[in-house]
């Protein structure tokens, strides 16, 4: 039971991380690797602010706000200096590694002596409220004019230009929100585990992608289940699977490889296996056409 509770709690924290990565990976269709640096960046920023005597809620919010600057840096690198987005993300991540060490002058900071946002009530309840708040705000944003242009930028830049808008502006907005959410998630993780460590961002992008991909697989055809909800559920399932694996005796050292295998397995299932199972031995031709709607429409028209 304790294991399940911890998995759900961490799943909610990673759900916020995954919502951030969802914006870059799914909406803008780009791999922003800077999040590997932004996640610990959020945690180190929180440690700095809380040690300065700022209250935990404000410290968490400030970590989120400053974390979004990582998105600004990555966007400037690829829009102004024309560095490929994937390399721009890696460069930001590399810069943040040194920045993270500089913020507090240490690579590991215990936080047990400080207050945290979880002092406000039960940890699970606080996390549910924060995750839901982020989800609702993101959903509302994606319904605004700016939100739709963010989606259109990932979809078809030519359309955004034809509407008289600059795509780079929307990439900047997307990356700043994404990195802000990743930093928020890092700050929450630091408070949840009670310490900050320089390695906490390593291969975090795999965790985020796994959550997104698992979320995508749930009730694929349901249009009622919003993408943001899927991402949170995906992150929780992912953490539960990982928790059970360790409980069953998996060596934590092997966890990263297992993480990668989970991602590979889900992507392979979506890309390859589904097609294989669907293949029913029929060839082409009119007899095997199952979707007759276009034909009927054509017949009606002519």
């Amino acid at each position: 039971m304790k294991l399940l509770l911890t998995s759900v709690e961490q799943g909610l924290i990673f759900g916020i991380l995954a919502m951030g990565v969802f914006i870059t990976y799914k909406i803008l269709d780009m791999a922003d690797l800077s999040v590997e640096g932004t996640f610990p960046f959020g945690a180190f920023l929180f440690a700095k602010f809380i040690s300065l005597g700022i209250n935990p809620i404000l410290s968490t919010l400030l970590a989120c706000l400053f974390g979004s600057l990582a998105g600004l840096l990555t966007t400037l690198l690829f829009t102004q200096l024309k560095i490929r987005p994937i390399l721009a993300g890696i460069l930001t991540m590399t810069i943040l590694y040194s920045v993270n060490l500089k913020i507090n002058g240490r690579s590991n900071i215990p936080l047990f002596d400080y207050d945290s946002v979880f002092d406000l009530g039960s940890t699970l309840l606080v996390l549910i409220i924060i995750a839901l708040l982020v989800k609702v705000l993101l959903d509302l944003f994606l319904k605004t004019e700016t939100g739709y242009l963010l989606i259109a930028t990932g979809d078809n830049e030519a359309l955004v230009k034809s509407l008289g808008e600059n795509c780079n502006k929307y990439k900047l907005i997307g990356l700043m929100i994404a990195n802000g959410l990743v930093a928020l998630s890092g700050a929450l993780m630091a408070q949840h585990q009670g310490f900050v460590d320089i390695t906490m961002g390593a291969s975090i992008i795999v965790v985020a992608l796994a959550s997104i991909i698992i979320g995508d697989t749930i009730k694929k055809k349901s249009s009622l289940l919003k993408s943001t909800t899927r991402v949170i559920i995906g992150a929780i399932i992912y953490k539960i699977i990982g928790g059970i694996a360790i409980d069953l005796g998996l060596n934590p050292d092997d966890l990263k490889a297992v993480n990668a295998f989970i991602v590979i397995a889900f992507i392979a299932y979506n890309n390859v296996a589904l097609d294989l199972f669907k293949f029913n031995g029929k060839g082409g031709g009119v007899k095997n056409v199952t979707n007759t709607q276009p034909v009927q429409e054509l017949q009606q028209r002519y």
Binding site: T144, E145, L149, A152, D155, N156, L159, S162, G164, Y302
Partner: protein, 255 residues
């Protein structure tokens, strides 16, 4: 009215692969008229459209739209008064968004995009009316994602979106070339209806001689960055046009 003055454009400038597409090119396109531009591949048709829309920057010269110099404006700024439909049906729409969402985006063009809700329910009757005019049944599919539409349906929607805010100039870049003959005809008819209804100043690029004569008021033939024919469509026949075209192609083959 669109006036192009002393326009020059070269690619790979300063290298041994330099290609001079236009040198001191001049052209005037009349207001409220549809002008077809035809010519063999590499004659500069698409480059001309890209120079007008701002996708390419001219090396020299001026482009004046309704007496306003637009030469130094970015592609995005020019898009506020120039509508364009591309050859590829997926270029003018956002495939993961619904028809309603795509039309709502086009409806906001030029008004600025803020944190207000995009889809305005009060505007839906207007969209339905516009879609009904297309006669493709799209008015019943407002909540369908555009990726599920056929090429012809997408191109018709692109056309509607590009013309929704009545641009000062409409550019049609072989917009029916990727469609089958029947769909191409349907889209061309819709295009003609729209252009005539709203008296839009239009430049229409085509490889189809019959379309060029049938759907435009004036036909211009380009070859190596020069206007080699400029006539009112009603004074031309398809055979005459084909003849000139063939002669030009033969000349290219001989040289």
């Amino acid at each position: 009215m669109l006036r192009i003055r002393n326009l020059s454009k070269s690619f790979n400038k300063g290298t041994e692969n330099q290609v001079d597409i236009f040198t001191n090119f001049n052209l005037t396109i009349e207001k409220n008229k549809c002008t077809a531009i035809i010519g063999p591949n590499g004659c500069g048709k698409s480059t001309l459209l890209n120079l007008i829309s701002g996708t390419f920057k001219a090396d020299d010269g001026q482009i004046l739209l309704n007496d306003k110099d637009i030469s130094n404006l970015t592609e995005e700024k020019r898009a506020l008064f120039i509508g364009r439909v591309h050859q590829d049906p997926s270029m003018g729409v956002s495939p993961t968004l619904t028809i309603l969402e795509n039309m709502s985006l086009a409806d906001k063009k030029g008004e600025g995009f803020s944190l207000r809700r995009l889809v305005n329910k009060d505007r839906i009757p207007k969209y339905v009316e516009l879609l009904k005019d297309l006669d493709l049944g799209l008015e019943n599919k407002l909540n369908t994602q555009v990726k599920y539409l056929s090429g012809g349906q997408r191109q018709s929607l692109s056309l509607l979106m590009a013309t929704m805010k009545f641009p000062d100039l409409l550019l049609l870049d072989e917009h029916t070339a990727a469609l089958d003959p029947k769909t191409s005809h349907v889209v061309m008819m819709k295009t003609k209806e729209l252009i005539e209804k709203y008296k839009m100043t239009t430049i229409f690029i085509s490889h189809n001689m019959r379309d060029a004569i049938q759907y435009s008021d004036r036909v211009i033939m380009l070859d190596q960055g020069q206007v080699i024919l400029d006539k009112a469509s009603k004074e031309l026949t398809e055979e005459e046009l084909m003849d000139i075209y063939r002669r030009k192609l033969d000349e290219h083959l001989l040289h």
